[in-house]
Amino acid sequence: MSNIPENLRYSKDHEWIAIDGDVATIGITDYAQHSLGDVVYVDLPRVGDKFDTHESFGSVESVKAVSEIFTPLGGEVTEVNDGLNDAPESVNGDPYTAGWMIKMKMANSGEADALLSAAEYEEYLKASE
């Protein structure tokens, strides 16, 4: 079974979101990295780029396919994980810490309430099996 940390929020697109004030840190879940297989390249936006909710903000290329990644929340990118340029494998080995992708300043922090809890995400995974 996938690793689904309790303290994080989740989207149905298999992203995890860590909320700290009005800043959201976003990455992809253990389930997502496992489905993708070995990640070989991560294409991320630039600091200052603005996105609406559910917009494509980049892509993850694995040995199997290139998959788009979507913003679970709207806002402005304040930081990107440049470390993934040299070590895209962090997304596989450590999706919840070293594999983080972007930090966003949320346009509307109320949006976070609509995200899934760990228990809800686990249910969602079971239902889509």
Binding site: S35, V63, V66
Partner: protein
């Protein structure tokens, strides 16, 4: 007695030509100088010359070179060696007759700038192929210029764009949505984006076909430029609602583009033009048996309705009432040229040779055999390898690794193990809508015995996955080099040899 595999012998593995270099060894012998010797500095200034004495260029003899490349050439797997079941690639046999016809001196030696009156045979050949493809697709406008499928696709969506811009004028800018199914080839959204469209994805149903409700919903949102779909689609299933798909999109003011990648299931049996399609591209290097793969030239003709024909690339090859063939560039609405000269001429000769040698009946028979072969394979493997969709496919069979994955054996492992059985693997992990997809297209070029051998190999691999999963997970075992680390190759690619590199693979 145990047999030790000898890895140092050149028939077992091979050092790179650079690594075979021996200082001072040459493959030539120059005659004595019979003219006055000159100082090189007087002819080519030192600043324009390489100053490293050609360091790192291999120093080898002629026999070294011949043996090296001949040995390596025997390691290839090719369509001439056996079944090559890459789904959606239609790796059918390329007949020797096509090659012979393409080498007729009048075709092979013709200069592309030769005057039209001296090139009548070549122009007639192109014209006849256009006519044949128009008849096969039911779409009268044909350009053979595009060099490959993706370029044919790009040409097709540019025709749609040109049509909408003329029809709608200024308002065309509000009609920029291209609908593309979630199972589509990746080139479809890329072509659409390059032609200035934005893509909306249509969901597939559990049966593996276009979700009509979702299509209608997307059409009702407005701004529809068109739809790009493949039929049979990329899971090999015929879109039985094709007429309704076309009507719905036309009703929303858009046009219908069909990706012709899977035409091998339709030639001589059903015509896209009759289904309501406005524009299609074909791949002569798939459906019409011109060489495919290996980086050689392809040909991706674009066929369209009479209404769209005025936007086709120029020059167009036409016939005067007098019977003379000529190049016509007098189409002011044309999207312009997409390829130098007239496209990849040699591929056109081969394709016409294929069409003429088969004839009407033969083309239909080839289609029927392609579908029969795929269905035979699909039924033989049913129960062993999981089928993601209940209905029968057309010219290809799709499977998922679900059964084998229970033992930790995934699609990539099955594909690699097939190499040990002497087969080229199938297409894997495409389309994306099927988990652990294996897409198998045997084509009509395979006989029953070869199909049975392939089926047996798959059944054996399934048994191995249960009894000895590591055997499959570490495959291939019979190749000169075992499982390659594809992730490392993509993450840290080594793109050229350097003198400080260790000889790879030869000491292992």
């Amino acid at each position: 007695m145990s047999i030790k595999k000898v890895t140092s012998h050149p028939t077992q593995n091979e050092a790179l030509i650079f690594e075979r270099s021996q200082t001072g060894r040459v493959g030539y012998r120059l005659p004595k100088l019979d003219v006055e010797a000159m100082n090189i500095d007087d002819i080519v200034p030192a600043a324009l010359r390489r100053d490293d004495d050609l360091a790192d260029v291999p120093e080898v003899s002629e026999v070294d070179v011949v043996r090296h490349f001949t040995r390596i050439s025997t390691w290839n797997y090719s369509i001439d060696l056996g079944i090559y079941p890459l789904g959606s690639c239609t790796m059918k046999y390329n007949s020797r007759l096509n090659e012979k016809v393409a080498r007729i001196p009048g075709f092979a030696g013709l200069h592309p700038l030769a005057p039209q009156e001296e090139s009548q045979g070549a122009l007639e050949m192109i014209y006849r192929l256009q006519e044949a493809l128009a008849e096969i697709t039911g779409l009268p406008g044909v350009s053979l210029q595009p060099a490959a499928g993706a370029q044919g696709e790009m040409t097709g969506v540019m025709l749609i764009r040109a049509f909408l811009d003329e029809r709608d004028g200024e308002a065309s800018k509000d009609r920029r949505v291209m609908l593309i199914p979630d199972s589509a080839h990746g080139t479809n959204p890329a072509s659409a984006a390059m032609a200035g469209f934005t893509v909306k994805t249509i969901r597939s149903t559990a049966d593996g076909i276009t979700d009509m409700d979702h299509l209608r919903e997307l059409c009702s949102e407005g701004g529809i430029a068109g739809v790009m779909f493949t039929n049979p689609n990329t899971v090999g299933i015929f879109e039985r609602n094709i007429k309704e798909i076309c009507d719905t999109v036309h009703g929303a003011g858009g046009l219908v583009y069909m990706d012709g990648a899977n035409m091998n299931a339709l030639v001589g049996v059903a015509r896209p033009g009759d289904m309501g399609v406005d524009v299609i591209h074909l791949n002569l290097h798939k459906t019409f048996s011109t060489p495919h793969g290996g980086g050689g030239p392809g040909c991706g003709p674009c066929c369209c309705t009479a209404e769209l024909a005025k936007y086709l690339p120029v020059p167009r090859i036409e016939k005067k009432a007098s019977g003379e063939f000529f190049l016509n560039s007098d189409y002011p609405n044309s999207i312009g040229r997409v390829k130098a000269f007239y496209g990849n001429f040699g591929m056109m000769v081969r394709a016409l040779s294929y069409i003429y040698t088969h004839g009407n009946d033969g083309l239909k028979e080839a289609t029927e055999a392609a579908v029969l072969n795929a269905r035979y394979l699909g039924h033989k493997l049913e129960g062993t390898i999981a089928k993601p969709f209940p209905s029968d496919g057309m010219h290809e069979a799709i499977f998922s690794h679900k059964n084998q994955a229970k033992n930790g054996v995934v699609t990539l492992d099955i594909a690699k193990r097939l190499i040990d059985y002497g087969f080229h693997p199938m297409t894997i992990y495409f389309p994306l809508v099927v988990e652990g997809a294996m897409l198998i297209e045997p084509t009509e070029s395979v006989g029953r015995a070869d199909l049975d051998a392939f089926v047996e190999a798959m059944i054996d691999i399934d048994r191995e996955a249960k009894e000895d999963p590591d055997l499959v997970k570490n495959a291939p075992h019979s190749t000169r080099i075992g499982r390659l680390d594809e992730a490392a190759a993509a993450r840290k690619p080594v793109l050229r040899w350097g003198p400080d590199m260790e000889a790879a693979g030869t000491s292992a």
